[in-house]
Symmetry: C3
Subunit: 212 residues, 3 copies
């Protein structure tokens, strides 16, 4: 039935709202890195706003399969994922000025092209999917070039590469792509990925990753 994904959106808004509160409380503990903590809080907060906006259901286009596509998600990722990729660079100590400029710029290009690919419902969307993928590869190279193959940094690298790369897979399988998944299951999978890449990642960088 059309619109059953809205329930998922409200549940996710609640989960990310609670995550915002928890990350805020955690930021008051001693020994917590101020910048990583701010990224966790703000990413959770932006994702809450994004889910409420999707739950209201008016920022939507109809795909060629007649299934709705919630395109506003990708515009919010321009902000939240830029913060996340900067946090990865900070943890990996890739904090040269040029790198710190490249990373959010590339992340915004990835997500903006993702927005175009989601918003354009005709076959031309694949142009922007391709542009987004190219920028994503450039982003991964910038972030992870020269990272040793073992240790905590290597685990962080694989965490990011695996779970972030599942987003375009869902994009291809859902109504934005071949239409194998309905909007409901697409939304559900994005929700799981959002929890992993934003809340679980957020907890990991606060407690597991070596302080720098």
């Amino acid at each position: 039935m059309a619109g059953e994904e809205l329930l998922v959106f409200w549940i996710m808004a609640a989960i990310f709202g609670i995550a915002t509160v928890i990350f805020t409380l955690l930021s008051l503990r001693s020994g917590i890195d101020e910048f990583l903590s701010f990224v966790d809080i703000l990413v959770a907060f932006l994702t809450t706003i994004s889910y409420v906006l999707m739950a209201l259901g008016f920022l939507v286009v109809n795909s060629s399969y007649g299934e709705p596509v919630y395109w506003s998600r990708w515009l919010f990722y321009m902000g939240s994922c830029s913060l996340l990729t900067i946090s990865v660079a900070v943890i990996l100590r890739k904090t040269q000025t040029v790198t710190m400029a490249k990373i959010p710029i590339l992340t915004m290009v990835v997500m903006f092209c993702g927005f175009l690919a989601a918003f354009i419902t005709s076959i031309e969307r694949w142009w922007f999917f391709a542009f987004s993928s190219i920028a994503y590869l450039a982003l991964l190279i910038t972030l992870f070039q020269g990272i040793p193959r073992e240790g905590i940094n290597a685990r962080l690298m694989w965490f990011i590469i695996i779970f972030w790369s599942l987003f375009p897979v869902v994009f291809i399988l859902g109504p934005t792509g071949i239409g194998f998944l309905t909007t409901f299951y697409t939304v559900l999978l994005y929700a799981v990925l959002d929890v992993i890449t934003k809340i679980i990642y957020g907890l990991l960088i606060l407690f597991q990753v070596k302080k720098h």
Copy 2:
């Protein structure tokens, strides 16, 4: 009568246009802080553009009371108010990298949610008013935590807290909220607040606030 607020917009465009010229002339004087002077000029210039755009009257939604809401104001505040909050942080010497990143990001979240709250004319707008208010509180805490209760910095703090907090009060009273004020009086009150928080503030930071 519908549209009488357009006259206010043109008058304000003229006032902020003149303010842009005056701040530019003042920037040529010796002993003027280059950054604070740039903030004053650019904020006045952006506000001029914003008022001309509102005066043209095509970026408008009709509220549930049938009164027009000029929503583009909040998008311009994303730029101008970020510059203003950064200037506050510079004056208060809160120039650690993390703080300097937090302040414009939080300001943009405040104003973007304000835009959503103004643009959405149904009851759901209060979600975004609430999100905007939460980000605003986080912004005030980031800016003013640890500021002494007396002296020039305390006066600056109260100036910001009092006059900036009147914007959401007008929002609640106007057609974006309970509809107690008509569009005309809402626009008039925002105009007064814009003069106080941008032109008078701009003069104060150039001449009154201790050089740093």
Copy 3:
């Protein structure tokens, strides 16, 4: 015939796509400045995306002459031209924090007002053309104040001043202005200017301009 400019857009998308690949290959050579190289690649890449988007032909308004105006160009310039002006500042060693903040902000104001001037098809567009011109003058002054009248930096200055200033000339002559040029010739002239100010400039700063 309406739409013949679309062929120009596809050819330009191909040219800038090839330029993206060439600048990427050049970045692998030793002795290449990492930041300037990144600017070249990303500007070429953003311009490719911009031309594909224009070639699809749905981001268009009809001017008062009945000729189409492709307004999305100016929004992409907000990103690409900010990178270009920052690269100019880096080459001229104008890298004080305040200058580095002023330059992209002014560039974005220039291009955003240019977007408004292109998007608004009524006579009111000249307001935004005027605002854009004022910000452009402020940008040129910020970039080039105090540059010696001879040598490589002076040549760079005149290159920028001459070729960037031709954009508003085309704007005035085309369907966004007096309508002397049709959309096709407007698009063709912008294409030539894009090649000069982005590809030729990109090669010049990599190979001709003194390393810093």
